[in-house]
Point group: D2
């Protein structure tokens, strides 16, 4: 909380700091109060003149967010001092109708929804940039063969385009989850304990108008103690952050000097070290990873907040406030930095190709083994290929072919030219292009 | 892990232990191998005879789960020894085509999906029982007035029916989330690194047939490293558990001796103490709460598992296995016990009524204050009511009326009979019946 | 992060916001740079004049924390721009020796240690106030009998003094854990990868002088990737926060209107509601609980940060920075608010006594049962008392006595006067005074 | 919980499964009941004969753990049915004095302490093996130069011995933390609500004798609701697991094919793949990482359990039971597997040397830059070296020297022979030997 200025720029953006900061919350609470007044005028609970006066008073400039924050301590939430101040601002005629029928939670929950939706649009724009960049890579590198790596060890060939398509698939799923969670965020209006008793029989009409004023959905009933909405939002943000961290983490591994197959975009000063002039550190991945871990720690709080006491939760509710702002800022920060990384990624296709060449004896071992299986039996084939690999002078295609041909069991059933054909990595890419096309089609569909 | 027998019955059920246990995973892995063989026969990759032989071998009886478990240590997953054993079982003709084109993760992920869907049906049945019980309470107690409590303090009147409707609203949301997450669980089939290279160009056809065999959706592309599906499932289970804990926790608070407004069903031995014969402990709530906290700790692991290395995650993947089984068992246990609590809930309507009577001077203070507001000004009215409350001899309606009438500012604008009318809690329930009807309608719709 | 002003005052204090904020970190980093220069002069690595010039430049006024924060993004940490700026400030003669031999992590880790120790003193002062207040209550209420409650149900009599002694015992343990963790926080100085190679053979001497300059312990070797120290600190803070939440939570339960045995101190506006004039909300407990949950979520991040890559962790290290500041601020906030609650606690001894009177038939049931056991057999006695309880007209002592005496099995072995003696709660307090004396003695010892 | 057999062998050992399993808990609960009886005889509360009879009945063979587990559901804990069964076993004379004065929590908490201490010994033995193996590597590889890597990029030279010393330093700290936490685990004995009222004034004497019987410390007062002890234990286990994961993770990174500097011990079948004969997967690291993440998720539950209600926690207490067993088993499993990895580590010193040779132009750039600084100015030197690095034909020492000598600014102040001397990595290891000696000395001290 107290280190906005020094550390926050590493993990989030100015746009998100603004969308989730003190002023954004203040504006959202005032939007809720103004919408409440207008909705009550619409339902005939208060007069149109009074509503106009209240709405006119709901301007951030008249409120000192720091002062309201200090006064929030005694009553335990900032709506109490906000309403006091709003009454002063509004003046005698309308003052008594400010916050009519509402409770602090109505305003704060509705404000949280507004903050989440507004920040959510920023996050989604980042996700779209990220998805587009992944799509571009998937398409343009559909034939860029590289080593597939499982448990950090070379496995079989893949293409870099397929790797990017896999990233894109995750981003698409995360975007959909976020959109669904944001769409589910409804207004909250229930009064002191959810009955809206002080509105008599006009409660439902006011709720409906309140939702209309704010452009938000109307809930089936007030959700002050049914926190599935906020927990679902937190979970969706956790998905989004995690999806970003997967991508950024893959890049950090590819950037290792010993691998050197892709690099974060490196303008001057990016990833440098003050003492080691050659360093090219994965600072983007470090930032995305740090933002994501912190985001995930916050997500867990929202599951815990599902349970709480009776008609208003003692602890579970106040836990949500700063946690939500931070979660939005960190998740959006992870997305934005990952989009920057993928958008400017330096793909070193030459290094990928050279590695595939050097490791072809390993990467194609499965293929050779399966080709020999019908001729020798599967386990015998596997054993022969494994032994040949151990005897080979290196991991190249040629060395494996030579080694295998020196094994009479293999030499009896296969000739060198056929083996050499089998060692072409581009011929062992299976369905990778199909996957790329399918994911790109889905992305295109979602972008329409 | 190692204390199934001693402690598990407190937090889950036999049905769920069976659905998530060793044998369930073994059967699911064998189902996946059998379906793979049949799918490959369908696509012409292997012959129908071979597929039949393999499928015939996929019977749990021929496998010693403990032995497979021991052998799993070296290779890091149980599919490797399972496949070895399956080859023995299947015999010479078909042996070489067992597990053709697949990798361990294909089988284990698909098995996890099967375990989750099968357990998910058990959990959903529990959720439906819970929803039905909440619905019954919501309807039958729509006129049972009780004290609404916010931050554990009496606020305004509500009905017990509305409280139950609020519970039901949460259950409905959680059910929908779970159903959506389960529906999204697709087969996984990608081979060594996702390309299905060993199936040549027949990969997509085999995946499609594999999905068809198992009655599962087909993914856009293999999801071995895009774990949004499992994380979404975990999040939905976290919602379900948390929703249960909210309900069970409310009951525990109502059961307090000093409150005494509702009780967990108490057959002989339920909630008893060995030394204090009178105890009626909220053992259901304790169990639901314990199961839920542990479930939530597990949920967090699935967010962490979204990120991992390249084409197979080193740590993030094995973290999922036991975590998923436990998460399903604990969540289902929380639901089942909550359903039992709500289904047999002893509602002490008399105690609710007596408390409302005794606290009417508090519970209706807001109403009186709002009624006086147009006549005295809002803050003056609030102050007068607050002072009257402090001067009143007790918290009853009569005491507040008497106290207020002794205040000349109030006595000038209102008479005792009007005040007494205002003190009728049944007249200050606002939209509670509307909310109940709406939630019941939504429940009815979902049950159709 | 971005909502310092609006929400932070609810969960922490101005003193802690200052001790953990941007300026505190800036000052600590500059203290580390100054101490490094002086230590290197001491070891003859740089001249005394140069060291003086550097130290003179390490004044916060010359640094714009916001500008440094913005520049931190590219290199991934704020030390890089801080050192650049320090070089400008220091001027030509000494500029080249700024940050000599150090790496960013040396400065940031040492600064974190300074921030933690300085904030730790504030937290400990709060813990001492809290401990003193608990001790006062334990001593003064050693004879205030109240209902002991297990699983939220009345069990046997205790005293409020013993309850406070139990709180105090926890606070003492937490204080010791925090002190030990803070004492273990050593300077970090290792250079680029821990060898201090650029200092030649003078590394150990410089580390020792560096520690001496800052009044901090010297580590056995650099701990840049062995994060047991920071994880232990986080764990100790988690203990401290949790201990506070236990106490604050007990008060919230005692404040329930239906219980009414103790209240948070309520000056004007404390715990009030804008619409319900009578409300006395446990806002202290809500704040302490919210701060604690968020603190605990942050603690978990430090366990995760124990593992990381090689000689500097990619993600695990940057996760620590803001997390540490928040964790200190939230934990200290929880302590301060709990100290305030306990220091000003309104203990309603009359309500405790009245409840004990009303529930004596329950609270002493165990005692009666044990007294009857040698005369009737233990299970027969338990059964007879349980039945008598069910038949009794209420839960008072008299009702239980009457009910029991109407049971011939009991009447045969005990007379009413003996039973009435057994029903004296003050006679069934066991070792409560011994526990109080022991805990007070331990507190006195620690305060010496 | 329900998948002991299939997955547990991957993440833990038979010894730990036994030490933390159903039978271990049953035995520990019976040990507690027997010790209680003996302690009460010692204090004259019950007769020596009765105590002998009870102690004689406390033999696991007479108890069906599965049956007790099933019966545990109703009362919410297994002590209630255990005591019933013990009464049957003990027979008429002593039956009534079984469990005298105790409550379920006394037995279960004391049993948890016994289980933790017994498992703790197993874990500590693993830690000692791990420490010894690290010490051996630190000593024998004190001159094995390798690339230090920060943020996954080559930095400056270190030795593999220093890396192992860093691992050892962490293990020593974790061992100390675990030992301290285990030592703090005291007996719990408080009766129904902590007063030990049913023991009259003999409570403290019985507690003392109870502790003596079990060889455990005596607490200042009962700690049924002050859970600092169990939370501290959990935190220490979290440290231990995290320390293991750091080591195992470093090995996984070194095992990457592109790095190839160290390998997990690979007997037949270790780390193999069913389809790719060449695979050498880091299955040890995967298992350690998975065990550690799950352990850390469980640790968090114990912080949450610090707070709870009054004299017995509703949810916070039952959360601890299975969580503790799992946490011990997983932590011990992580330690055992890491000890196995380090104990049999294949260190490929040749690959380390070859990489240092190939990267000397990078690894020594800092050294060259610092050597030029006094002659050219620090930033000019850094710039010249960085430029030379970019112009160099490769990353070798020779290439950097050639490139630098072609820069007139450098050539003016330094000659090739001096530069070539600077490029000797063995001359730029700073204090690495000092650190190794210090850590080894500390290890030797702790092992005495």
């Amino acid at each position: 909380m107290p280190t906005d200025h020094l550390f926050s720029h590493i993990v989030t953006t100015d746009e998100l700091l603004a969308a989730t900061g003190d002023s954004a919350w203040l504006a959202a609470m005032l939007d809720a109060e103004a919408a409440l007044a207008r909705a009550e005028a619409h339902a005939g609970v208060i007069s149109a003149e009074v509503a106009s006066a209240i709405a006119a008073g709901c301007k951030s400039e008249a409120f000192d967010v720091e002062e309201i924050g200090r006064q929030a301590r005694d009553g335990g939430n900032p709506v109490i001092p906000l309403v006091s101040r709003l009454r002063e601002v509004v003046g005698p005629g309308a003052r008594d109708f400010v916050h009519w029928g509402a409770t602090s939670q109505d305003i704060l929950d509705t404000a949280a929804v507004l903050v989440a939706r507004r920040s959510g649009r920023v996050i989604d724009a980042g996700l779209l940039r990220l998805a587009d960049s992944c799509a571009t890579l998937a398409d343009s590198h559909r034939s860029t063969v590289m080593a597939g790596r499982t448990l950090l060890q070379p496995a079989v060939p893949i293409t870099f385009g397929m790797k990017a398509a896999g990233w894109l698939g995750g981003v698409i799923d995360a975007r959909q989850a976020l959109a669904a969670a944001l769409d589910g965020l409804a207004v909250q209006l229930g009064g002191a304990a959810g009955t809206l008793a002080s509105l008599g029989s006009r409660g439902p009409e006011v709720v409906s108008a309140f939702a209309g004023e704010l452009g938000l959905p109307e809930p089936v009933m007030p959700w002050h103690t049914a926190r599935e909405r906020t927990a679902s939002l937190a979970a969706a943000l956790g998905l989004v952050a995690g999806t970003s961290a997967k991508i950024a983490g893959d890049v950090a591994l590819l950037m290792q000097h010993e691998v050197g197959e892709a690099f974060e975009p490196g303008g001057p000063g990016q990833g440098g070290s003050s003492t080691m002039p050659h360093k090219s550190n994965p600072v983007g991945a470090a930032a995305v990873g740090a933002a994501t871990r912190r985001a995930h720690a916050l997500v867990c709080l929202f599951f815990e907040s599902l349970s709480g006491e009776h008609e208003r939760h003692v602890t579970s509710w106040p836990v949500e406030w700063q946690s939500l702002g931070e979660l939005l800022a960190l998740t959006g920060g992870a997305v934005a930095r990952t989009a920057e990384t993928v958008g400017g990624l330096e793909v070193v296709a030459g290094a990928m190709a050279e590695r595939v060449r050097a490791l072809a004896g390993l990467l194609l071992a499965e293929r050779v083994s399966l080709a020999l299986a019908p001729r020798m039996g599967r386990s015998e084939a596997a054993a022969a290929v494994a032994e040949a690999g151990r005897r080979a002078t290196d991991t190249s295609a040629g060395a494996l072919v030579a080694s295998l041909m020196s094994d009479p069991r293999a030499a009896e059933v296969i000739q060198a030219p056929e083996l050499e054909d089998l060692m072409d990595p581009a011929g062992y890419l299976g369905s990778s292009e199909v996957w790329i096309d399918r994911v790109l089609a889905r992305h295109a569909e979602m972008s329409r």
